[in-house]
């Protein structure tokens, strides 16, 4: 076993272990943290495939941003663990059937007939100075420029929709205007009243 193989099996083992823990562990915060570990090991595998841009983007986007917000929501949930266990036996047969179906489907499609190693030539190794990021950028902005632009437009629509859905009008919500706050002078707020000192009665 070469060193590369050892690293590959290490990352794969961690990935599978973490993925299994995500769905078996009871505590949702721990599940989210195991998902982070799974993403991280997947990124490690991608680095070994010389896809360093995708790997780092995975860590940056999913680990650095998406999962942080996930954790945020999950941490504030008040989950009763006992209720999660209810109805396990009830759902078991249906769940088992669905799981079996999915395994069979994946076996048919992802089996060696379509995705076997013999169907794909070994990708050529690249020189040390090869920049994955540059190649990806060239592809995105030449060959796939229209799909890329359309995807960005869809994202823009989603952003605007999210803002439109969650925005409340200014009149209904109480808010502060820091621009006005910093312009406040002492004369507007403070009134000095001179009073004669009281005499001791």
């Amino acid at each position: 076993m070469t060193f590369t193989q050892f690293v590959f099996y290490l990352f794969s083992a961690v990935l599978i272990f973490a993925a299994a823990m995500v769905i078996t562990v009871r505590n949702p915060v721990k599940a989210a943290l195991f998902l982070v570990l799974a993403f991280f090991s997947a990124a490690g595998l991608w680095v070994m495939l010389e896809a360093e841009f995708l790997a780092i983007a995975l860590v940056l986007v999913y680990v650095g941003a998406v999962m942080v917000l996930f954790l945020f929501v999950v941490m504030m949930l008040d989950i009763n663990l006992a209720r999660l266990r209810e109805g396990f036996g009830e759902y078991l047969p249906v769940g088992a059937v669905v799981a079996a179906l999915m395994i069979v489907e994946m076996g048919v499609i992802l089996g060696p007939r379509h995705f076997g190693l013999h169907r794909f030539p070994l990708p050529p190794g690249h020189a040390a100075g090869y920049s994955n990021t540059r190649e990806l950028g060239l592809q995105l902005y030449t060959t796939y420029v229209y799909p890329f632009e359309i995807a960005s437009l869809i994202l823009l629509v989603a952003i605007i929709a999210a803002i439109a859905l969650s925005m409340r009008s200014h009149r209904r919500s109480r808010h502060q205007d820091p621009g006005k706050q910093v312009q406040v002078r002492r004369e507007d707020r403070v009134r000095i009243v001179k009073m004669a000192a009281e005499k001791k009665g």
Binding site: V59, L60, V63, A65, S131, T133, P178
Partner: protein, 348 residues
Amino acid sequence: MIAHLEAAWRGFPLWSRLVLGSLGGIIAIVVPLMIAVAYLTFAERKIIGYMQVRIGPNRVGPRGWLQPIADALKLLFKEIIIPSSANKYLFVLAPVLAIGPSLVAWAVIPFTSRLVLANINAGLLFILAMTSMGVYGVIVAGWASNSKYAFLGSLRSAAQIVAYEIAMGFALVGVLMLAGTLNLREIVLHQAGNIAHWYLWPLFPLFLVYFISGVAETNRAPFDVAEGESEIVAGFHVEYSGMAFAIFFLAEYANMILISALTAILFLGGWMAPVGVAPFTWVPPLAWFLIKVSVLLFFFLWFRATFPRYRYDQIMRLGWKVLIPVTLVWITLIGVVMFFAPWGGVVR
């Protein structure tokens, strides 16, 4: 003698030479970094002391020079108390998650044109990914402590870090556009020449945004609501004691130095001398780099001594409504200039 050593070195198998070489490099970075962190705390207390017209620590060793060593020893010998209702594994894991990314990011920092541990092509992305991981230490610490103050502190901090990361990332896009590479070493080489070639000038607003976001990212004053001792005691690490607390401390200061180093590399020409004539070129490149980093670190301390703490909603407003629009406008402007103007190539 050297020939013997070389022969002995070649006697090792290749993998062990790689491992030993990397290990040596890591130690050569981390040990000076930890010493720098220790003396940064000393510098902070002294500088803020003088700014507030007091003397600062001056009891341990000559002029107080051994104060950080004494502090480290004190923290080492203190007991680490794990709260009985805390989640034990995550409670112990949190400091590790905090310090790991802040040390790993140093792997791609070029100290001079030859002194870099891993000169990778996607260096800038790597830095972004690693710094975005730092927030987990804070979140996990706050949640695992099972304490209201810690939890509130970690929520504040996480929201703040996620918000300012966007402004930070956009500020880096400007650097990327001018340099045309993600490799940190090449970014510095693009700024070769004198002070006029530094990215500080064409990217001045982005420089400000980056540095301000950097201060916010590291939870330093005036953005330190995550600790806000007047409101939530000490924030996310209120339940930590001894070395576990010290590790959070180390992570915060290592991050400060990291942000300063990055600002020096991206906007201030890294190890380049400001003017390429005689008295300036006598100073070695590494010294120039360290000087720039020290000046930026001084700004961190200066901010802390000068500004009162921001209110939380104002922090969010500054991040989302001021810094991010500034970066977006400036990126567009640079793009237009580079594309249309006949002198656009000059900027590049």
